[in-house]
């Protein structure tokens, strides 16, 4: 909201500089976002009278004018359409520097001499309007310095009024804040309404359907108005507040709204039927054209102001086009009312229509001064539009109620703020804020809540008033209390931190993606799960329309994006939630951990040029996975082959722990990867975070450091390439005695000499007893048993050195 300081001075004395005043307001709750200077001294600009206008001989769009500047008549070439003999406008003579920086020089324009300029608003820095020259009051004397007409430069505050402080949405409201902050008196203008017309009851009756939506409605009737522009001082104030001047009647309603916070509406009385105003909700199928010329469909909850037959205004939001003030208007019905915030908000939101009026009503106006605002506007219409005011005001006030009373304990104030404030200072603050103190003793006081405050219900609300007036800067820092928190809620958070530490240590960097994802991206990876997707009914954009069911698509997207930026390798993880919907519509969310590898991440630094092959890529990711699982005390995962659209056939693996599925891993399907121009294998895994970290707090059972030496034996074999490492391991473990304490694959290769479909594997076996030193004979015996079993069960050809 914009307010010029000069207007505030009508109601309260201000001795502070603009900066001091801005600080005062900002640190009491209404932030001054900007301090603007509007206008200037207009040095060298005076009121000029256009005496003659004739066509320019060489240019159709230009005119030759004779302008009197109070001393002499000068030739001026002017291009404005609204220049005419007799008008008065700002005139800048040769040598003037205009507020927009333009320097006026003696000029010849298309061959005609021009010794000055008639100015438009933009040239004077008043607005961006360049529609024509600024026409001034014809009664002004030529030669009057413009600064005397427009007034000195203005300082305008741009204020951010918080949602709860509807009382600050007016000049008087802000003046009241300043009065409270400085202790100076607030002066509200006396309104004298001179009623010379017939009784208002002979013009209009008002009825309100429900006091819940309209607790008060007043109407005045003004006869014989003379429509015209409003006086310059009023136009200027409106313009400084960002409101466009229209005509004297509409300008007066806007002026009083800015001044008092009461939105008013002026109807053309003769366009209302039946001399009747009904405040009611719309009937089914009803619609109306509003002032902005839009046809509005009304629903049955929309509150309207209607005449006998039809809605004439969207109550508290916008008037109807059918009863607008216009050239032909003679009589005016002036509405000043209070509409309930919730209804205004609802209709304004439904129609997507926010106005200065709805903005104020949905936050609450002062029901006690509805009549004051009507009277103020009527008096101004009488003064500035020659209106005759009908006798009396229709004042339907079904919502009349006692003011709320709130008790404030001085001790509670001190306790909550952590600073001792004397009872006398507290009541003083409350009185300055215009809360009448109706009872007071040593312990506390009871105040009445004035009608302009819609945010005061309980003691804490008053304590806030005390705090902001007393000053937050005067509240000291307490000594920090350091008690131990009674209960820890944060094991899951600790697990996240622990996994991050492990994964970054393993060389992976963390990614964070949005929770939203496009349906197309999911389709590529998981075309089947459509029914379980959580689709947003109101997404910001279509590429963010579904809550992600997996972290993998975005992980691949991230790797692909990095690849497209010439990043050759990346090892990444993301910790985030996935969302699913079951058949009943219930949404569940699960924390997941996603891993992704691109490029030769696991290679020696001087061996990165070779293409990455599928098996090594898979085994790098598996190695990271194993390290991670061990760090979380998951020791016995089982991998089974797993087919999924996103995985290259044969590379997908499901990871189980006991009877639970921990997650899956695999290489991204090559066709899918080609969407990102990925030519080399890319590995991804996704794990359920709760299963992964669920055992991390289990007690670690330590084993004694072995006392007796170990004996090692190697077993090398050639087997069919169908035989898996896991099968070989199983056979070795079965056939070896409990003394087998270590088993490691130390060599694997395939060569032509072995014959087709064969490979060679070599294992190192470590035997150790907890009771004695094993002899060579022991170890040889164990080794033989293993060899024998491998021959028998896997048809292995044992290779001896």
């Amino acid at each position: 909201m914009k307010i010029p300081i000069s207007w505030l001075k009508d109601y309260v004395e201000i001795t502070e500089t603009p900066e001091e005043l801005a600080d005062l307001l900002t640190f009491s709750g209404t932030e001054v976002e900007a301090i603007e200077t509007v206008g200037s001294e207009y040095e060298g600009v005076v009121v000029g009278k256009v005496r003659e206008v004739s066509p320019h001989p060489n240019a159709d769009r230009l005119r030759l004018c004779r302008v009197f500047n109070g001393k002499e008549e000068l030739p001026v070439v002017c291009g404005a359409d609204n220049v005419a003999p007799g008008v008065k406008a700002p005139f800048a003579g040769v040598g003037t520097v205009l507020p927009n920086g333009m320097v006026l020089k003696r000029a010849r324009i298309r061959g005609e001499e021009s010794l000055g300029m008639l100015c438009a608003e933009d040239e004077l820095g008043l607005s961006h309007d360049h529609a024509g020259i600024l026409l001034l009051d014809p009664a002004l004397e030529a030669g009057t310095p413009l600064v005397e007409v427009l007034g000195p430069p203005e300082i305008v505050f741009n204020l951010e009024v918080t949602w709860n402080r509807s009382d600050c949405l007016s000049v008087i409201g802000m003046a009241r804040e300043i009065a409270a902050l400085t202790g100076r008196p607030l002066t509200i203008p006396e309104v004298t309404v001179t009623e010379t017309g017939p009784d208002v009851a002979s013009f209009v009756r008002v009825s309100i359907d429900s006091e819940d939506v309209c607790p008060r409605y007043t109407a005045r009737v003004l006869q014989g108005i003379k429509l015209g522009p409003s006086p310059l001082w009023m136009q200027r104030r409106l313009s400084l507040c960002g409101v466009r001047a229209i005509n004297n009647i509409v300008d007066i309603t806007n002026y009083v709204m800015l001044e008092s916070g009461h939105p008013l509406h002026a109807f053309d009385y003769q366009l209302l039927q039946g001399g009747q105003i009904v405040v009611r909700t719309a009937v089914p199928g009803e619609s109306m054209a509003t002032l902005d010329e839009a046809e509005r469909e009304l629903d049955v909850a929309s509150l309207v102001v209607a005449d006998e037959t039809k809605p004439v205004a969207l109550a508290g939001i916008m008037g109807g086009a059918g009863s607008e003030i216009q050239e032909s208007t003679q009589h005016v019905l002036l509405e000043s009312a209070s509409f309930a915030p919730a209804g205004i908000h609802r209709t304004s939101t439904r129609l997507g229509l926010t106005t200065e009026s709805s903005h104020r009503f949905e936050r609450g106006v002062n029901i006690e001064t509805v009549d004051w605002a009507g009277n103020r506007a009527a008096a101004l219409m009488s003064e500035l539009a020659d209106a005759t005011i009908a006798k009396g005001m229709v004042d339907e006030y079904p919502g009349r109620a006692e003011r709320k009373r709130v008790y404030l304990s001085f001790q509670h104030t001190t306790d909550l703020l952590g600073v001792a404030i004397a009872g006398r200072e507290i009541t003083d603050i409350l009185r300055r804020l215009q809360f009448p103190v109706v009872a007071e003793d040593e312990e506390g006081c009871t105040v009445e809540v004035p009608g302009f405050r819609h945010d005061i219900y309980i003691e804490a609300d008053l304590i806030e008033e005390i705090a902001r007036m007393y000053g937050f800067d005067r509240v000291p820092d307490a000594r920090i209390l350091c008690a131990v928190s009674p209960d820890a809620f944060d094991l899951p958070f600790q697990a996240e931190t622990a996994c991050r530490t492990v994964l970054t240590g393993l060389g992976l960097s963390e990614a964070v993606n949005y929770s939203f994802i496009s349906a197309q991206l999911i389709d590529l990876f998981m075309p089947d799960g459509e029914a379980s997707r959580v689709v947003l009914p109101n997404p910001v954009s279509s590429d963010q329309s579904v809550m992600r069911p997996s972290l993998i698509p975005q992980m691949v997207d991230v790797l692909g994006r990095n690849l497209s930026r010439q990043v050759r390798e990346a090892a990444m993880f993301e910790l985030g939630k996935i969302f699913e919907r079951d058949a009943s519509g219930t949404i569940t969310e699960h924390k997941r951990l996603c891993l992704g590898l691109l490029g030769p991440v696991g290679r020696h630094p001087q061996d990165k040029r070779r293409d990455v092959d599928a098996e090594e890529m898979f085994r790098w990711l598996k190695g990271i996975l194993e390290a991670l699982l061990r760090s979380q005390h998951v020791l016995n995962e089982e991998l089974t082959s797993y087919d999924a659209v996103m995985f290259e056939s044969g590379t997908g693996v499901e990871i189980r722990v006991g009877d639970r599925v921990l997650g899956c891993m695999g290489l991204v399907d090559r066709k899918l990867g080609s969407e990102w121009r990925m030519q080399e294998p890319v590995a991804v895994a996704e794990l359920d975070f709760e299963i992964l970290t669920g055992g991390a707090l289990e007690r670690v059972d330590i084993e004694a450091i072995p006392m007796y030496p170990a004996v090692s034996r190697d077993v090398a074999m050639v087997v069919s390439s169908e035989v898996s490492h896991r099968q070989i391991e199983a056979v070795i473990r079965e056939s070896a005695p409990p003394e087998l304490t270590g088993l490691e694959l130390f060599d694997i290769f395939a060569s032509e000499g072995m014959g087709d479909g064969c490979k060679s594997l070599a294992y190192s076996l470590e035997f150790r007893s907890a009771e004695r030193s094993l002899t060579d004979e022991d170890a040889n015996g164990y080794q033989e048993a293993v060899k024998e079993a491998l021959r028998a069960k896997l048809d292995a050809e044992i290779r001896d050195k």
Binding site: I463, D477, S485, P486, A570
Partner: protein, 351 residues
Amino acid sequence: MAIFRDGLFFWGEMMNSEKLKETLSEALAEARVAPDIEGLEHVRIKYLGRKGLLPGVMKGLGGLPPAERGEMGKLANRLKTELGGLLDQRREELESGAMGNVSFDFTLPGAWHAAGTRHPIARVIEDAAAIFARLGFTVAQGPDVETAYRNFEALNTPDYHPSLDEQDTFWLESGDLLRTQTSPVQIRVMESTQPPIRVITPGRCYRRDTTDATHSASFHQIEGLYVDTRVSLADLKATMGYFAREMMGPGVGVRFRPHFFPFTEPSVECDFSCHVCAGKGCRVCKFSGWIEIAGAGMVDPRVFKKVGYDPTAVTGFAFGMGVERIAMVKYGIPDIRMLYDNDIRFLKQFA
């Protein structure tokens, strides 16, 4: 080894001065040819070790006739000094040789993978959690999909508050919504726990903002809640001051400006003095010397009532701040979208 009255036996042989001389030259030869430090150590143990030759000889000297005793004693001493000297010398040679024989280019790059990095968002959250942990705050988490009750009503939001608007909130078909703040987690904690309470609630939130340099439809918040008897605004000030210094740097101060939030009363906006220019004014703080970081206030008694606390018995403070905002201000990140772009060259800088 056995010692008899009539002579000194060693390793099954009778030891006399001749034999001992021979043994000495053998020992010296063995020391000379020992290929490595281990071999050298064998030689030392064999001749000079606790159960080796020399101590045996020395022990047996007393049983020898005086005439032999003198010569054998001298020989034994020679054995000790000569062999000991040679062993030391060889050891030195072998040790220096072990390095001296190998030569490589130590300017070659190291051959271990680099550490990965935490995302700046996670980093701010973890750092904040650690700072507040020192003040006795633990971390609470909750679901992203929340009820309208916990996200709005329980927080004293009036039913026509602007933040309830369709256009600002992601509503779901079920009537639930994506939380617009992490405050509903505080409600969950209060619903399930009696005071005293001291938690922070970091997490992801959602608002229907169009993405630009400073807005994102999904973002992260850290909120905090402290409920006990006699918690005051002065405690809030001290707590925010501590956090500001720990998070942004030792000289950083805090100021409060009154504001409005439905769930606190009084409510304040909390500015940190600019850590870049120390309050003098710079681009980061838009030349004001202050950076708006958090919203805070004393918990509204109506919120306590909603969760079944006695508002006359407890007071508390709550605060909330944007994680992305802190990350951007702290690390000088100009555009919030960089945080969600996941360019590895950006992420790697947060080592």
